[in-house]
């Protein structure tokens, strides 16, 4: 429930927030159509500087994943106290781009390449960040 989450995102311009259905903010090249995340001022594929912002799709499939098993060094700013492993993956948004993100699942038995995923916004300390969660009911 967005109302229960902190207001401040980990960075401005990464995703729409507050929002009932948050979207990642990427960019699309006006010359070749390539989509990137986060938004950038030039196209890494064709070198054009004619790009526009674009709200990305909210659902996709898991391209690959891992589980971060130790607390990263600085500048990691995760919650103090006991470290909990977290999932990380790339989610393929059809026709757009593969986005790297924290996953809401850190159990390897519940992660499978190809599984449907959807964008969520989750607490991160006293701020919020974006993550992908398995689509409810889809199962691993």
């Amino acid at each position: 429930v967005p109302a229960a989450l902190p207001v401040e995102p980990v960075a401005e311009g990464l995703f729409t927030w507050p929002a009932d259905e948050p979207r990642l903010i990427g960019s699309r090249c006006l010359d070749c159509g390539v989509v990137t995340f986060p938004a950038q001022g030039s196209c890494p594929a064709c070198t054009s500087v004619a790009v526009e912002k674009r709200l990305l799709g909210r659902t996709g499939t898991l391209y690959t994943w891992t589980v971060q098993g130790f607390r990263p060094k600085a500048p990691y700013a995760g919650p103090d106290g006991g470290f909990e492993p977290y999932g990380v993956g790339y989610v393929e948004l059809p026709g757009e781009v593969r986005v790297e993100a924290r996953l809401t699942v850190a159990d390897p038995t519940r992660l499978r390449i190809g599984m449907p995923m959807e964008l969520v916004v989750v607490p991160f300390g006293d701020r919020v960040t974006y993550a992908f969660a398995p689509v409810t009911g889809a199962g691993p």
Binding site: P38, A45, T66, G69, P72, A74, Y76, Y86, E100, R102
Partner: protein, 383 residues
């Protein structure tokens, strides 16, 4: 008049590992002195030098210890390709006639634990590091996870690569990890980044390596068995390759910088991957060696599973890989790591690799590094 060939006529190395109280720079000086002695020359004979370090200080400051001869000394700071980029600079200098005798050096000394990285240094926002995405081990886990899915590589093969590395390290007196580990021990170690366990990863470490390079037509003055540097190539990533520190990836996968660098290195050398008799490949973790075997053109995707089962990449196999124990057994002092590979190939081609000598007198060797933010350096060497 064609440009001269370039030969390696001296090699020197400070042991890898942990050396409390010894600076990275001191290890670099040690390596240079060892390489000079190997070539039978003095620092005052050297026309130019280039080299670098990530965390160990400025390479050119070593002139204070080696001698203030006034030679040009170029510092190189190019991540995992520091050694490779220094080699490219040295080769070009000799071919261009800017010097006849050069030194290439790399050294480093890193804090314990996984590397920490500054997002701003890579053009990324602070959020990328703060939210725990800027971790190299994650990238390695995710890349091999997908590769295993696509090409049928097993966890047993990951353990096999690591067991081979530690077994080779046990035969190498200058390696850091010199205790053989079984595949079961490797698989049972704590999981760091699924599917990779602690013993499948190398650690940041310490060490130094130096090489003396000469014109090929003058190599015999310095060395009975010169090894010729047939090519040295550095490449950055192209759009679509699967790279470390990437908040997003293109839908279409393109070849990695490893593929580009290896292909260019073989083409420039006029030597094919099938002629390689000993290879050192970036094995930051066990999966990397598997993927890099294919990316360098040494095998087909998926073929590694059978190769490992048959021991093809072992010291007595058809294509020995990481004969000195690689990054897994030597650790990764970034500035020194790529030159360690060249040092090992030269020792192997000269038949002086001791207990880890590849039998049969290999004639052609290959080295490869890969690193952030998507760079690769490769060399082809031959007798």
């Amino acid at each position: 008049v064609s440009a001269p060939d370039v030969a390696i006529v001296g090699i020197g190395l400070h042991p890898f590992g942990r050396h409390d109280g010894v600076s990275g720079r001191t290890m670099g000086v040690h390596a240079v002195r060892a390489a000079l002695a190997d070539a039978g020359v003095r620092w005052s004979d050297i026309d130019f030098a280039c080299g670098g370090s990530r965390d160990g200080g400025n390479a050119d400051s070593m002139v204070a210890d080696l001698g203030l001869t006034g030679l040009p000394f170029v510092n190189v700071r190019n991540g995992c390709a520091t050694g490779g980029s220094a080699l490219v600079a040295a080769v070009n200098a000799i071919r261009a006639g800017a010097g006849r005798l050069g030194v290439v050096v790399g050294f480093d000394k890193h804090a314990a634990g996984a590397f920490g990285s500054d997002p701003a240094a890579y053009g990324l926002g602070p959020w990328y590091g703060e939210t725990g995405l800027m971790v190299t081990t994650q990238f390695f886990g995710m890349k091999i996870q997908r590769y295993m899915h696509d090409h049928g590589i097993s966890r047993a093969s990951l353990a096999g690569v690591a067991a081979k590395a530690f077994g080779n390290g046990a035969r190498n007196p200058t390696a850091w990890r010199r205790k053989a580990l079984s595949e079961d021990e490797i698989l049972a170690a704590p999981m760091v980044a699924d599917p990779l366990t602690q013993y499948m990863f190398c650690s940041p470490g310490e060490g130094g390596v130096a090489l003396v390079l000469a014109r090929g037509d003058e190599a015999a003055r310095y060395c009975e068995r010169p090894v010729y540097l047939r090519s040295a190539v550095v490449r950055t990533r192209r759009f679509g390759s699967f790279e470390v520190f990437s908040p997003s990836l293109a839908l279409e996968r393109a070849d990695s910088p490893t593929v580009d660098a290896a292909r260019a290195a073989f083409a420039a050398a006029g030597i094919g991957p099938d002629e390689v008799g000993v290879a050192q490949l970036q094995d930051t973790e066990a999966g990397a060696e598997i993927m890099h075997l294919a990316e360098c053109g040494l095998c087909k995707d998926g073929e590694q599973e059978e190769w490992l089962a048959r021991g093809v990449t072992g010291i007595s196999g058809a294509l020995p890989v990481n004969t000195d124990g690689g990054c897994l057994a030597n650790g990764e002092p970034i500035g020194a790591s790529g030159l360690r590979q060249v040092h090992e190939v030269v020792a192997q081609l000269q038949g002086r690799a001791g207990d880890r000598q590849v039998p049969g007198g290999p004639r052609v060797g290959f080295t490869h590094v890969y690193g952030a933010p998507g760079i690769s350096a490769c060399t082809v060497l031959s007798r």
